[in-house]
Structure formats: C-alpha cells, structure tokens
Amino acid sequence: MSFVSRGFQGRRRQDADPSRVPPGQYVTDDFPVLSAGPTPHTALDEWTFSIVGEVNEPRRWTWDEFRALPSEEVTVDIHCVTKWSKLDSSWEGVSVDTLLDGVETSAEYIVELADGGYTTNLPLEDVTGGKAWVVFAFDGEPLEAEHGGPARMLVPHLYFWKSAKWVRALELRTSDEPGFWEINGYHNYGDPWQEQRYWGD
C-alpha cells in the first residue's frame, strides 16, 4: 500500500552504499543514545562478567581478568530499530567464542543480563562463530557509560537492542525467554534485513 507523499523529495546519502543499509534505515554519523532508564555506573573494581545457566561450570571474570583475555578489533555496521544505521563503527572487545571456549552446554538460547535489569534474548548460534563480542572500546577510546561502558554486547547482525549496554552476564538456556524490549512489543529475533522491528513483523 505504498504511495507517493506529495512533495516529498527525501535526501539520499550519496556516500553510503545502499546495499549496506537495511530497509527503513537511514545512515547517520552520530551515535544516538537509547536507554529505558538511568545510566548505571558500576565501578571497575566491582565489575564482573559471568557465564551462568545451563553450563557444566559457571565462569566469572573480574575486570582485570576480563581485560587480560585476548581481544579483537572489529569494524562493523550497526542498525538501531529507531531507524538509524551507523556504518564502519569500530570496536574492541572479547569474542563470545573466547568467553565460551570449553564450556559444555545443552543450551540453544541465551539471555544477556545487564546492570539496570535490562535483558535481551537470542539464539546461542547468533553469538557464536565470530558473530558477537563483549566490547570495551569504541573508536579507540574506552566505551562511555551512556553508550554502555564499561562493557556492552555487540551483535551487529541484529537490531542494536540485542546488543545490551552494561552487560554483566550471559545466561545460557535450553528454552527461549523474551527479554525487556521483546516483552514490550519488539520482535523476538530482530533481523534488520527482514525489518523485524515489532511483534508480527
């Protein structure tokens, strides 16, 4: 049911490769912030990161232990459900493969658990195989609190709400459990190329 909006020209970005911009998205150079509540501030000496749930043995790292893990620099495109996309964003973090290395599990799903009570769910296979990181730097600088610092998830192939800010644990699960936005009207999977923004998309 698409029709022309009288007098609307639009302003296409000439410098953005259209094949990298999912339907309904526009490219921005800014880095907008979206959060459901106040920004948490966890001191680094109180910060830990855990793997919990359906695992043979839970794991936990302090900040120093986490930062001693091998890290990677990744440059990826990110897509927010509120319509902006940011191309070639550069991050540094620890691959989820590294965090799960040697973990024995029958889980098929995970929930990301974050400070402030935020959760988001996704299939385990969407965070393994070089598809997801726990990142602590953006553009070569420590990640700012309002963007999820000290560390956030980065799952760039899904809408960005699947990349929880202030992430503190991954819970491995045998069943799928809708997270915060997923309960509040947003799509359970969130593939930007399928434009899976909301329930029923």
């Binding site: 049911m1 698409s2 029709f3 022309v4 909006s5 009288r6 007098g7 609307f8 020209q9 639009g10 302003r11 296409r12 309904g24 998205q25 526009y26 921005t28 800014d30 907008p32 912030v33 979206l34 959060s35 459901a36 509540g37 106040p38 920004t39 948490p40 509120t82 319509k83 902006w84 402030g116 009570g117 309002e146 809708p178 915060f180 936005w181 997923e182 309960i183 509040n184 009207g185 359970n188 923004r197 909301y198 329930w199 029923g200 998309d201």
Partner: protein, 248 residues
C-alpha cells in the same frame, strides 16, 4: 510468541492530515485521521513512512501527543533544519494530504490513569509530547492523580502546548516551567537547566515513590535521571526516552 498472535502485524495504514496547528515557531502539531486506528496508550509512538516519486522511502518514529480518541491521533513535530523528514512534516504537509503510518508501538514508556501515582513528568523541549499524552489522558477521564510536570524550554515562545497546559493545571496537576535561555519581563519561575535542587523542590520526593517519566534530548535525560537517582529515587522507577541529535 503469544503477543504476536494477539496483536497481529502492525500494518501500514493511510493517515489523512485533517489539521495542522502551529505550537511554536519551530513546532507544529499534525492531526491525522487514521483508518481503523486501534487506539493507543499514553506514551506510545508511531512509525511514519514517506515515499518520494522515484520510490525512495524514509521512515521515522514520532511520539503520539494525544490521548486515545477514535481514529484521530496527533503528532507534534519539531523542525530540525538539517533533518530529512521533519522539515517536510512541518513545512509541506497540509490538510488533505495522506501519509503512511503504523503503530501504536512501545509498552514500557507508558502510563495510564488506573496505574495511579504520584506521577513526576520531566520534559525537555519536544520531549513533552509523550508526557502530554499522559496529561491529556488523565484529564480525559477526570483523574485527580497527583501529577507534577516539570517542563524545560528555551524561552516563553518555545513552550509547546503552553495555553493548554495552563488550562489543565489544577485537580492534582501542577505544571512548573523553567526557561533556560530567555525569560519574559517579570518572569518569576525557574530560569536555569533542571538540576537536583529544582527536582527536590518540585517533588514528589523519593519516599513518596512517584512513577517518573523523563523525556528529552540525551544530555537532558542523562542529567535529570542522574540527579533523580542522587535524590534517592529507585532507578527502576525512572523511565526514560531520549531524542538523539539526529532523527529528524
């Protein structure tokens, strides 16, 4: 999931402009008649879609400013000079035009009168729009839930919904304005950015456990939410919605 089956797909609907109302020099309210609009809860938003003659499309999200009222919804849009969509909505669109729209969207930044109070609403500029939907819904059902609206604008002429807010005050609603850049002669209200001291004076205080909704530009929301946490409000009682520097 169960909700998907209940709600079905949010389909694009034709929305005809029935009125365009200037609010301030930079802000207009667009009143739409939306075929088969299912109704909405205060605080929810819609996606709109514009299509150029060559098929190019732009989508954006806008908060709904009106209380649920049949097929009628109101969006209040601030013109961002370097934006792609807001100059069209505020400069070009006129009664009789039709755009596409889908919604309502969002289930968290929502307040309905039966949820009760007390309620603290803190708005920066056009961040007042979803909070106005709450204020209007409250008035529409004759609710006397204790409600404070602290509203920060640059100057008196930039105060969105100014006359209506003056009319709606009372019956448990108090509206407190702060004007951050310029004040009219004789202004006796606040004349600075929202800070902890102002939030403490406006109340309700943390022990009264108000439900708190904060909406505005990101630095505004960051500062207000942080000040509220500092005043002892439970972080989980503070719901925020932020407008980035882009989005227009």
């Amino acid at each position: 999931m169960a909700g998907a089956a209940l709600l079905g797909r949010l389909t694009w609907r034709a929305a005809e402009v029935v009125e365009v109302r200037p609010e301030t020099p930079r802000v207009k309210t667009l009143v739409f008649d939306v075929v088969d609009w299912p109704g909405h809860r205060p605080g929810q938003h819609v996606d709109i879609r514009l299509t150029a003659e060559d098929g190019y499309q732009a989508e954006r999200s806008y908060s709904i400013g009106s209380a649920s009222d049949g097929n009628r919804i109101e969006l209040t849009v601030e013109r961002l000079d370097d934006g792609e969509v807001s100059p069209y909505l505020t400069g070009e669109l006129r009664p009789g035009d039709t755009i596409e729209l889908r919604g309502p969207i969002g289930g968290y930044f929502v307040w309905e009168p039966p949820q009760g109070g007390p309620l603290l609403l803190v708005a920066g500029g056009s961040g007042v729009v979803p909070l106005m939907a709450m204020v209007r819904a409250r008035a529409a059902v004759g609710s006397d839930v204790e409600t404070r609206l602290l509203f920060s604008s640059r100057g008196w002429d930039d105060v969105i919904y100014r006359d209506e807010l003056e009319r709606l005050g009372g019956n448990g609603l108090s509206v407190v304005q702060t004007l951050t850049r310029s004040q009219p002669p004789g202004w006796r209200g606040y004349a600075r950015r929202v800070d902890a001291a102002m939030l403490a004076e406006v109340g309700p205080s943390a022990p009264e456990r108000p439900r708190v909704y904060v909406c505005g530009p990101t630095p505004f929301v960051e500062a207000v939410a942080e000040a509220l946490v500092g005043l002892g409000h439970e972080p989980t009682a503070i719901r925020t919605e932020r407008f980035g520097p882009t989005g227009g």
